[in-house]
Subunit: 280 residues, 2 copies
């Protein structure tokens, strides 16, 4: 499959978190080993850096199989004029990481992103002495322990992060549930020419009328287009009205999808194709 970056010699991909974050693994899966990491502190910064041309692509987590959708990123997708050009799935494995030489008995505090701490509750519960310290990023917590030289602390992060910062893994795969995957999207500035792919993501609003959502979904069902995900988010200033984000198992350039989207536009006061893309 053709990568979204084509044959460019260098690709700059922005993501939230420090080097070694799961998003960087996702960026490598989509763009290959020549991707240049552009780490950013927050998701807003990731979108802004692509909008302003400081990075070629953004790589954002959109959904975790245990925690659910990352709603902030759905909201940012609607607000920014970026296009989805690829997706990938990363198996999330959490590891207990320490300074080289630190023994487990010496560990008193465990740093990580709150979601990672929550996903290792069964492991952490077995060791009551461990204080949980919420941190802004998994890889960032490894970097922090390294830079501060903390000998009584551990981080929960990927094996990649441990290698990158020259740290030691004390316990591997400490997550509660092995069925832990995150889906990531790759975004770039809208080029104007329509890319295609096996999946299409759209967002739309509907009139507040009985049966509106059923009628909207009928445009796909009547044409045997599979719907793989639906997500609803509030619309600011219109309490209890929603934006619907829908993923379709088809190319936006296919005959039936062109008809379905034209049909949907008839009933949707707001409508946008977020992109048509492949899975890497």
């Amino acid at each position: 499959m053709r990568r979204p970056c084509g044959a460019r010699p260098e690709v700059r991909a922005a993501f939230q978190g420090e080097a070694g974050a799961f998003s960087q693994t996702a960026a490598r899966q989509i763009f290959g080993p020549r991707v240049v990491a552009v780490p950013k502190p927050a998701f807003d910064d990731v979108f802004a850096s692509v909008t302003r041309g400081h990075a070629d692509f953004a790589v954002i987590p959109i959904e975790n199989s245990l925690a659910g959708s990352i709603h902030q990123n759905y909201d940012l997708l609607a607000r920014h004029r970026l296009e989805v050009v690829g997706e990938t799935y990363v198996r999330i494995e959490h590891n207990l990481i320490v300074m080289p030489g630190t023994k487990f008995a010496a560990v008193r505090r465990v740093y990580s992103h709150p979601v990672a701490l929550a996903q290792c509750v069964n492991f952490l519960r077995r060791f009551r002495r461990l204080e949980h310290v919420p941190f802004y990023d998994t890889a960032g917590s490894v970097k922090h322990i390294r830079e501060a030289g903390l000998k009584d602390a551990a981080a929960i992060a990927s094996a990649d992060a441990a290698v990158l910062y020259g740290m030691q893994i004390l316990h591997r795969r400490i997550e509660d549930d092995a069925e832990n995957y995150t889906r990531f999207l790759a975004l770039c500035r809208r080029s104007g020419h329509k890319a295609g792919g096996s999946k299409t993501s759209i967002v739309f609003a509907l009139k507040n009328a009985p049966g509106a959502l059923f009628k909207a979904l009928s445009v796909f069902a009547l044409r045997d287009i599979n719907l793989t995900k639906i997500e609803s988010r509030p619309i600011r200033g219109k309490p209890w009205e929603y934006l619907f984000y829908v993923d379709l198992g088809t190319d936006s350039r296919s005959r039936e999808c062109v008809h379905a989207l034209r049909h949907l536009r008839e009933m949707a006061p707001y409508f946008k194709v977020l992109g048509s893309y492949d899975t890497f």
Copy 2:
């Protein structure tokens, strides 16, 4: 309208947060002034206290018109055997609250729940000197400033919280967006006898097949039953499969709803009526 607590002389309602929280306002709207507050630190504790009989009812926020659904509470609804017996809507007004006598020029730090801080960004941005301190609860931040006697700090919380802790409001309605409402649900232990009301909430899973959601929604559309909300949440251990939470504008005991739910059961491997209830 008959309150869910009937004519009981005393009603104990558990909610997350300190006395003075928006959930307590919601509890008063549903159960009237004789409600006894049972404040709990976390939503898990709120559900547990009703399950174990330490409180008669739980009052939980389920959706905010700006921030969206409170997904943790959707997950807890599926996990616990409680029944929805009422809903209410609370207008969220945020106020800047200080110790009596504190002047605005002396305020250096602002404490509140992260969502409340995020909803007052425009106000806070005008005063760069203010440090934002995330706290576990809006009313709890007022209580903290009172108890610690902080003269250089303010809290963002409801006017009720200011009155309750004998504090002073420096600025009223500092939220960015006036269209800020939260919908709350009242829950109790399942009684066995079917209560009714103008709305019905259900949760179901579907087989992973093309058109499954469309077919599920057709059971309501074909009977002119209005769907007011749909929310999807991941199923643990089944990546990319979902539980769907749907609110219907009808009584679960109505003829058409009985038929629709029987029809839905044919295609749903998992199905549960969360409750049928009125708006207070």
